[in-house]
């Protein structure tokens, strides 16, 4: 193998150099991009949608929020954000209209028109991903589903974000931080680009402590998921990598400590489905 070009790291259960890991991961997502959503639904039996909904409810964004969704690839979080903010905006608008009972039709019409242009109320989401293919799929989805306002797509690396300091209200990374080469760097960047008072939210596979459940989960992960990958996406290896990388990722408490090390305060986590997935949250105060 010769002299390693850099420190040795994990790629699933393999040991590789940092450069190899980056390349391999890029290729994994390049290959799975088109089938990413189908596979997510098959592997989790659609439950990943619930996890992402819970993340959005936890975030509870109000209109005017500026969100950065890192490793946001195919746009699941971004679209949910837009839907959420839109419905909040609608409810606010309805409340306002109720109070305008004694206005003339002309005045009501005008105020309604004005607010229609701001159906998102100045909220914006920036989707940042290191992988061109994933972004491509995301943009196609956005077009297909009719999302355009308040949405932008940026090619970028979580370890070196192409944004200024103190820019965003919320930073999310859903099922992405596991694939970052150096998690500490990503956390530091998250801290940097958040405004003071901003919130960090991470949705990621985590560790199941219940022994019986853990065994069932392992069985399902290692026996079924690569098979699903082969049958649905024609790609065993990418999904073998997926289940291995989940096991290599730091458990809840360790990730919490890493987030605190990056400077975040009030760091906490919430287990979903007994720890199969966890949402970590922290604030830049």
């Amino acid at each position: 193998r010769g002299l390693a070009a850099g420190p040795e790291m994990h790629f699933g259960f393999q040991t590789v150099t940092e450069e190899e890991r980056r390349e391999k991961i890029y290729r994994v997502f390049e290959t799975v991009a088109k089938k990413y959503d189908v596979m997510n639904d098959s592997m989790t039996l659609g439950i990943h949608r619930v996890w992402k909904d819970i993340l959005m409810h936890k975030m509870n964004p109000c209109p005017g929020t500026l969100l950065l969704d890192v490793a946001g690839g195919t746009g699941d979080i971004a679209f949910r954000f837009i839907n959420y903010v839109r419905s909040v905006q609608q409810r606010q608008l309805q409340k306002k209209l109720k109070h305008h009972q004694n206005l003339s039709w002309q005045e009501i019409f005008e105020s309604y028109q004005k607010d229609q242009f701001k159906s998102l109320g100045d909220s914006q989401v920036v989707v940042c991903d290191i992988n061109r293919e994933m972004l491509k799929v995301g943009k196609q989805k956005a077009q297909y589903l009719g999302y355009s306002e308040g949405l932008s797509w940026v090619l970028g690396n979580a370890e070196e974000l192409p944004f200024d300091d103190d820019k965003f209200d919320v930073y999310t990374i859903a099922f992405g931080i596991r694939n970052v080469t150096c998690i500490d760097l990503a956390l530091q960047e998250a801290y940097r680009v958040l405004k003071p008072g901003g919130r960090f939210l991470c949705l990621e596979f985590s560790h199941v402590s219940n022994p019986l459940l853990s065994r069932l989960y392992d069985l399902y992960s290692f026996q079924v998921i690569p098979v699903l990958g082969e049958v649905i996406a024609g790609d065993w290896r990418s999904y073998q990598y997926l289940v291995e990388s989940i096991r290599q990722f730091p458990p809840q408490e360790e990730l919490k400590a890493m987030i605190e090390d990056a400077g975040f305060l009030k760091v906490d986590y919430e287990n979903l489905n007994f720890g199969i997935v966890a949402i970590h949250s922290g604030f830049k105060l």
Partner: protein, 249 residues
Amino acid sequence: GRARPSHSEPRGRDGRGGEEEMEGWQQLYPGHIPTSPLQKALLAAGSALMALYDPYRHDMVAVLGETTGCLALPNLRDKMKNHPEGYRILQERPRIRLSTLDMARLQGLPDGSLGREYVRFLEDNKVSPDTRMPPKFVDDEELAYVIQRYREVHDLMHTLLGMPTNMLGEVVVKWFEAIQTGLPMCVLGAALGPVRLSSRKLQVLATELVPWAIRSGLNASCVLNVYYEQRWEQPVESLREELGIFPPP
């Protein structure tokens, strides 16, 4: 040699994983993915369903063949071992690929010769021998070659049987291959393929083509025991006679 499939147990971050025996990932040939019996069963079921749902997923047909061939493949290998020409094929491991075929030479051969008709078949149906899937789930390196050989020889089956690559032609070839190889994937393909045919075609299939394919399949010696690469000059008709394939209707 045989491989024991690996159970990828976690090298847990907290040192967990000692209770389960950790087997190395024994890759027997490039592209080999060791699988547990449960995984093979799931793959067999999944690939069968997917192949039915989307017939363009040739990779699923291939996976089905690999995961269900555990009895038929050793059988085929033994047939090859016990035949002088088949034995040589197993030793020399020839591959049929565009890079190994001298297309110009084959095109220059007289009409009616195996080489000329094979090239004509490839051109008429716009297929290439390079689109065959390499095996992944066969846990024996020699058997992996046997199934690879079977896949690469498939187009020659078309040539020998005179069948095109439309649905009807493919089904007929599958019937022939099912009898010849005993591969469950061929049997399934032969039985379920006709489902997508019109009633007129089904009639032709049932009355003429399938009985002929079965008779030829039973009568012919093992088609994998033919070193095709050394017989390009041989006329197709003479090869048919030698093997015992009856003339196509």
